[in-house]
């Protein structure tokens, strides 16, 4: 083979390698859409009939606000703030940069931007379930833009970026986003829930009442769809390198999809088992699958699968208990987002410090993984999520822009603001609103079980 032929062969190989990178993240992004399809089904199912479509509308619009705002400023935040709150030059990530659009010589920026935009949309959807049935759509979307295109990506710049201060100063390790996505979004949701208040009827004389999903099977299917989407999400957390490097984590240490596969599946199974043991209830048991994966996500590249399984059981076991504690505090988290994402995300980051201390980090000067580093990192994630969620929702509440009026909440959001009916040939929304009568004898009665 001549030198020219070798060069041609090398060029062809490099082109195909670059195409493979694009193809991988393209499909990760597509699979991540399944997370949002899952949240859509799960939140519609978890709502009462009178709010089914309003809940779904939040999920549909989540993507439509996070994607453009992530283009306008989210990607720039990731690249500009790895050192803290003082931006560095990242003009290449602004919308008017030549990197931010079609470029036949750039096979990477768009595909990474897309994956990160979908991570951002996931943070909005995490909050979305917690606040169903009483938040104003406009307030929800403002808060979603905040968490999806500002807050989480700021935390991502600190904990995921190769120059992130959490990595360089503390050796922070969070490969599957237990902290930067889940803890941030879970604690952001907690801040919002405190100002939003519970749904009418959730607490009677201080005692928590059950507000049951109108379609539990749909909610369960939605949760399973989120699990499917997690494979795109976690795939997007791994770096497909060109050349001889192969797979690495976002921190640059070697790993591979096999490690992620072992531990993702064992995490799912352990979480389900743990949640079943403390709840015996299908919604919580299925949520346990999420809780298990989130609990082990930060160390997917490091854990022995047997350890993963045990840690995920612990996450699944404790998740319903934390959910009960949140409820006892008078906070109405309709789907347990604070427990599943906030608690398990926080726990997941700390567990890496407890069980994987001493692993080296690859960036020059970055310390090894330590328990203290992980604990501080987890606290940073919780605070970074909580403060903006609390502050901005408080501001919206003071401006009377956070919550729907009580008469609207009682009537149901679908009836008031959605020009459609979820089940027009079965149970018209107006027939199941408390205090109204069925339109005809064939309608189901307006009893408490359905409202």
């Amino acid at each position: 083979m001549t030198a020219e032929e070798m060069e041609a062969l090398k060029a062809a190989f490099e082109m195909h390698q670059a195409m493979n990178v694009e193809v991988f993240y393209w499909w990760c992004t597509a699979i991540m859409f399944m997370i949002h399809a899952g949240f859509l089904a799960y939140e519609i199912g978890a709502s009462r009939v009178k709010n089914a479509l309003a809940s779904g509308m939040k999920n549909i619009l989540t993507l439509s606000v996070v994607i453009p705002t992530f283009y306008f400023f989210g990607w720039w935040i990731y690249n500009a703030f790895p050192g803290g709150l003082v931006p560095v030059d990242a003009a290449f990530a602004l919308p008017w940069s030549t990197s931010m659009g079609p470029d036949v010589q750039d096979m990477g920026t768009g595909i990474f931007w897309a994956a990160f935009a979908l991570f951002g949309a996931t943070t909005g959807s995490i909050m979305s379930g917690a606040v169903i049935e009483r938040i104003r759509l406009s307030a929800y979307l403002i808060l979603t833009i905040l968490v999806g295109s500002v807050v989480w990506i700021l935390a991502g710049a600190w904990g995921w970026h190769p120059d992130g201060w959490l990595l360089l100063d503390l050796g922070y390790h969070d490969v599957g986003a237990s902290g930067v996505v889940h803890a941030v979004a879970g604690f952001f949701s907690l801040g919002v829930l405190i100002n939003l208040g519970p749904r009418i009827g959730k607490f009677v004389n201080g005692k928590a009442m059950a507000i049951v999903p109108h379609n539990l099977p749909m909610a369960l299917i939605g949760l399973m769809m989120i699990i499917v989407g997690f494979f795109g999400f976690l795939g997007g957390c791994i770096i497909f390198n060109g050349g001889e490097t192969g797979w690495t984590t976002i921190y640059g240490n070697p790993t591979n999809l096999s490690a992620f596969a072992f531990n993702t599946l064992m995490g799912f199974a352990g979480g389900v088992i743990g949640a079943y043991l403390t709840s015996r209830e299908p919604f919580m048991t299925m949520s346990g699958g999420l809780a298990g994966i989130i609990t082990v996500a930060a160390g997917l590249d490091l854990y022995y699968p047997g350890l993963t399984f045990v840690l995920a059981i612990c996450g699944g076991l404790t998740m319903p208990l934390v959910g009960k504690m949140v409820e006892k505090a008078g906070i109405d988290d309709a789907v347990g987002a604070v427990a599943v994402h906030g608690w398990c995300g926080f726990l997941g980051v700390v567990l890496v410090g407890a069980f994987a201390s001493g692993y080296p980090n690859t960036p020059e000067g970055a310390p090894e993984i330590t328990l203290m580093g992980q604990f501080i990192g987890a606290l940073v994630m919780a605070v970074t999520g909580f403060i903006p969620g609390y502050a901005v929702s408080l501001l919206l509440s003071k401006m009377n822009m956070l919550r729907v009026p009580s008469n609207v909440e009682e009537a149901g959001l679908d009836l008031v603001e959605i020009p459609a009916q979820p089940y027009p040939e079965t149970v018209p929304a107006r027939d199941i609103v408390e205090g109204t009568q069925p339109a005809n004898e064939n309608s189901l009665p307006a009893n408490g079980a359905l409202s």
Partner: protein, 56 residues
């Protein structure tokens, strides 16, 4: 109307149709942001109108 920013694909890199100069890019960025803000305003207005109508 010829809106192509390139005359050949040979050596082409970034190409932003209709926005291949700073002025047009600024206009389209501003329009995109304005469209988004308008969408948010429409949602707020729809909510207010729906709530007011329900009160009546």
């Amino acid at each position: 109307m010829n809106s192509s920013p390139i005359t050949t694909w040979e050596g082409a890199a970034a190409y932003f149709t209709f926005a291949d100069n700073p002025t047009m890019m600024a206009i389209f960025c501003a329009l995109a942001v304005a469209g988004f803000v308008g969408f948010m305003a429409a949602i707020i207005k729809h909510e207010k109108d729906a709530f007011d109508k329900h009160d009546d």
